[in-house]
């Protein structure tokens, strides 16, 4: 009798409208009805986890979204009749993240938390409803990381901001025929470091900066009456207004430029400078780049290396997402390695050899976090000659580089995968043979090697032999289904540390209670993405790129690809956070105790690991493993 009325009510709302009749009967049979006068806090983060699932019968309940609670302009979300709360808290068995307050007199149906698991079990419809809820949470993850990591820097400096929002005043411009003297006066009186030369259509034709004055005007003794177009840098690199601050930071890091004109539909709207981007930072991308380029001793490079870590920490705090951050770290580390190579190459008799420094592993994938040990090798072109003597000349050089990298905070590889090891200092032909034998071999170690070395990329030197190796390899692997299958098997060897019930499976022994975010987390995505890339002939080494390109070739729905990537980046972000907190102690650099995480992160971590499982299931299905 009562149940009929309640059932009729619930049937009007999702997920009860779709819920299996039997499950709904079970649900209704365990309901109570609570009353909360306006102003009552129904759930409060200060109290223990909710003992009940609430379904509003009538009235209005407000909740500050957990994202909003930490920023100034909190936007409350109102819940009305038929809406449930707090599904997340019950799923994760934690307290709520923000208070749920009745803003009008409110009646709620109440379902006991003790039966929640049974409800999930009985009703696939409700289970789906709950899972969808969690997936939506994951989308918030990036914003949350930012807020959890640092509430002080706030949203304003987020590297995700568009350049349009960074352009605060119109750029100082002049026409191409303006005399140099007039330009210099303008720059002097307006105290600007650069001037944009624009054509009649408002498009940037060139840029002229204070640094150019010395080289091109003073030292070149150019006449001050000449048009600026003769001394400007023509066709400057520009970015669209919708590009983000991080893209500008990358460009600055890559090209060593200080000013980036920002265009909207081709027309100049302003200039973003390095100072705009890193106004509040002690170290900047360009400054580090500059220091690296100027360094002529390993001592100086050690400082630069610690600056890279400091910058990473600062940018992470400003909300730069893991994808961009690992890319920036990799880019700067690349510059560092290049400089070391240049310095050491000058000390050893390696001139005249076509060698190329190869990066493997995370460096090869542009996914370096802060604590990364070395994974590198050398490839050289020996032609038809005996590679032995060339190797003998290269090895002392490579070993010196390995030592320098160690001094700069990239510890020697425990597995000795380093260019200074004769085994990984090989000619193009030797590398070819090596890969061929790995691919032909069924030995697990060979497979492991193939996986590590597959993610190589040329870092410095002569690109030609590395490019040739990549071409050779793609053909070799794509045509070999047994090898692909083995690699897939390898990718499925470890499983996400998720328990059957909904908890984490943590390790024992030295790292009791923790999970390894690399081995049992990020690696699952990396290995999975490698399999997909190999199967579809995607040449990228970067995991996100592999997922995106291989995923689209496999007709995976874009949302699925995005969810998997999000999961990967969340794990990467967690690793970064742990590494920053650990401050260089490498042993625990990838370890996290789920119990130490806040509730939001724990929930997202769980969902991220589920995404890894999803990727693995797809591979298992594809290869019928």
């Amino acid at each position: 009798m009562i149940a009929d009325g309640v059932t009729r009510f619930l049937r009007q709302y999702p997920p009860f409208a779709q819920m299996e009749q039997e499950a709904l009967e079970f649900f209704v049979a365990h309901l109570d009805l609570g009353y909360y006068p306006a102003g009552t806090a129904i759930l409060d983060p200060a109290r223990a986890g909710p003992g009940l699932l609430y379904i509003i019968q009538r009235g209005t309940v407000q909740v500050m979204t957990f994202a909003a609670t930490q920023s100034g302009d909190a936007q409350p979300v109102s819940l009305g009749a038929g809406e449930c709360f707090s599904v997340g808290a019950l799923l994760e068995q934690r307290q709520v993240l923000a208070p749920y307050t009745a803003v009008t007199d409110t009646f709620c149906y109440e379902f006991p938390a003790t039966r929640f698991a049974e409800l999930l079990n009985r009703s696939p419809v409700f289970r789906e409803f709950a899972t969808a809820y969690l997936t939506a949470m994951l989308r918030e993850s990036r914003r949350l990381i930012k807020m959890n990591f640092t509430s002080a820097t706030g949203e304003q400096q987020a590297m995700g901001r568009t350049l349009r929002s960074l352009v605060t005043r119109p750029a100082v411009t002049c026409a191409p025929q303006t005399p140099v003297e007039e330009v210099l006066r303008t720059m002097q009186s307006l105290k600007v470091g650069s001037i944009l030369v624009i054509d009649e259509a408002g498009r940037p034709a060139g840029i002229f900066t204070r640094h150019d004055v010395l080289d091109r005007v003073a030292l070149a003794q150019c006449g001050l009456s000449r048009p600026i177009s003769t001394v400007m840098t023509p066709d400057p690199l520009t970015l669209p207004a919708e590009a983000t601050a991080y893209e500008a930071a990358l460009l600055i890091a890559h090209r060593g430029i200080r000013h980036i004109p920002v265009c909207d539909g081709g027309r100049l709207i302003g200039v973003v400078t390095e100072r705009d981007l890193f106004a509040l930072q002690r170290v900047s991308v360009r400054a580090i780049n500059h220091n690296i380029a100027d360094a002529d001793s390993i001592g100086q490079l050690q400082f630069a290396a610690s600056d890279i870590r400091r910058l990473a920490r600062s940018m992470f705090g400003q909300g730069v997402a893991a994808e961009q951050l690992t890319l920036i770290i990799s880019t700067l580390n690349d510059a560092l390695v290049r400089r070391i190579l240049e310095i050491e190459a000058g000390k050893f008799p390696v001139a005249g050899i076509n060698w190329c420094w190869l990066a493997f592993g995370s460096e090869g994938r542009y996914e370096q976090t802060i604590s990364t040990d070395q994974d590198n090798g050398l490839i050289f072109d020996a032609g038809t000659a005996d590679p032995g003597p060339l190797r003998e000349r290269l090895l002392p050089f490579a070993q010196a580089v390995n030592r320098d990298l160690d001094a700069c905070g990239f510890p020697l590889c425990k597995g000795n995968i380093m260019a200074g090891n004769p085994q990984w200092c090989m000619s193009l032909d030797e590398w070819r043979e090596q890969f061929e034998s790995w691919i032909a071999d069924t030995d697990p170690q060979a497979l492991l090697n193939a996986a590590i070395f597959f993610d190589f990329r040329p870092l410095h030197g002569d690109d030609a032999p590395a490019a040739e190796l990549r071409r050779h390899l793609a053909g070799l692997a794509q045509g070999n289904s047994r090898f692909q299958r083995q690699l897939a098997q390898y990718a499925l060897e470890s499983w996400p540390p998720l328990g059957r019930i909904s908890d984490f499976v943590t390790d024992d022994g030295e790292f009791k209670g923790t999970i390894d975010l690399k081995k049992s987390g990020a690696r699952l995505f990396i290995d999975g993405a490698r399999v997909l890339a190999l199967a579809t002939g995607v040449p990228h080494t970067n995991t996100a790129q592999r997922l995106r390109q291989a995923g689209s070739r496999l007709n995976m729905p874009p949302e699925e690809i995005a969810s998997i990537s999000d999961g990967f980046f969340f794990l990467q972000a967690l690793r970064l956070r742990v590494q920053m907190a650990a401050n260089g102690t490498l042993a625990a650099a990838n370890r996290i105790n789920p119990a130490d995480l806040n509730e939001v992160d724990r929930r997202i971590l769980k969902e991220s690991l589920r995404q890894a499982r999803k990727l693995q299931s797809r591979i298992a299905l594809d290869y019928q493993l």
Binding site: M1, R8, H30, Y109, E110
Partner: protein
């Protein structure tokens, strides 16, 4: 059996089980007046009868639902139809919807009333215009069990105006008007259980307001009701 007869007087003939159940019921301690409102268990009651005269009409059905910790225990609804010697009038049946066949097929009144008392335990009974419900239940119990149960009754017809009336606004009259004010829906008016459910929700509002106003015990509610009754008469 003599002690049982002495206990209940020469009333109606009850079976052994019924007598024992009744004895067990009366042996229960009464609810202390100092019981805190926040955790109090109340049983909200509504009855349907053959008419509107509490002194001549007969009890047809009792609907009840319990409120505990200020929460309506939806799963604990109680509903019983008492077996009638003859079906009530057609007009009456149209009100409560308990047709003649159901009336004649109901439980024998003694069993029905004992099961109700067992359900209520010694919790205070709450009704809207509870005097009517109380009169019918007491009379039916006197007839069927030999005596009326001594229970605490609370009447929302007095408690609601005392605690919920807003100054300067007309005081709602009747359960429907109060329900409307608080948005309480009733999916089957004049079904004893559905009416009890609506009344229970009004009780929730009353309890919340009473606690917010600083009242803490069952005795407080009884005093408020008494005062309001006195006001109503003057």
């Amino acid at each position: 059996m003599s002690w049982l007869r002495r206990l209940f007087g020469a009333g109606p003939r009850l079976t052994m089980e019924q007598s024992l159940a009744l004895a067990a019921y009366h042996a229960r301690p009464e609810i202390p007046a100092a019981t805190p409102l926040a955790t109090l268990r109340c049983v909200v009651v509504d009855v349907e009868a053959t008419g509107l005269d509490p002194f001549t009409d007969r009890l047809i059905s009792i609907g009840a639902v319990s409120v505990e910790d200020r929460t309506v225990r939806l799963g604990s609804g109680f509903e019983v139809v008492l077996c009638q010697p003859q079906a009530s009038s057609r007009a009456n049946i149209l009100i409560h919807g308990i047709d003649g066949t159901s009336q004649l097929a109901g439980l024998d009144p003694a069993t029905a009333l004992i099961s109700f008392l067992d359900y209520a335990e010694r919790a205070p009974l709450v009704g809207f215009h509870a005097d009517f419900d109380r009169a019918l239940i007491d009379r039916a119990a006197t007839n069927a069990l030999g005596r009326a149960p001594s229970l605490v009754w609370l009447d929302l017809a007095y408690l609601a105006p005392a605690l919920l009336a807003k100054p300067g606004m007309a005081v709602p009259q009747g359960l429907d008007a109060w329900s409307q004010q608080f948005g309480i829906t009733n999916h089957a008016r004049h079904n004893a259980l559905a009416d009890a459910l609506a009344t229970a929700q009004l009780l929730q509002v009353v309890l919340a307001r009473a606690i917010a106003a600083g009242f803490t015990t069952l005795a407080d509610l009884q005093r408020i009701e008494k005062d309001q009754r006195w006001l109503g008469r003057h």
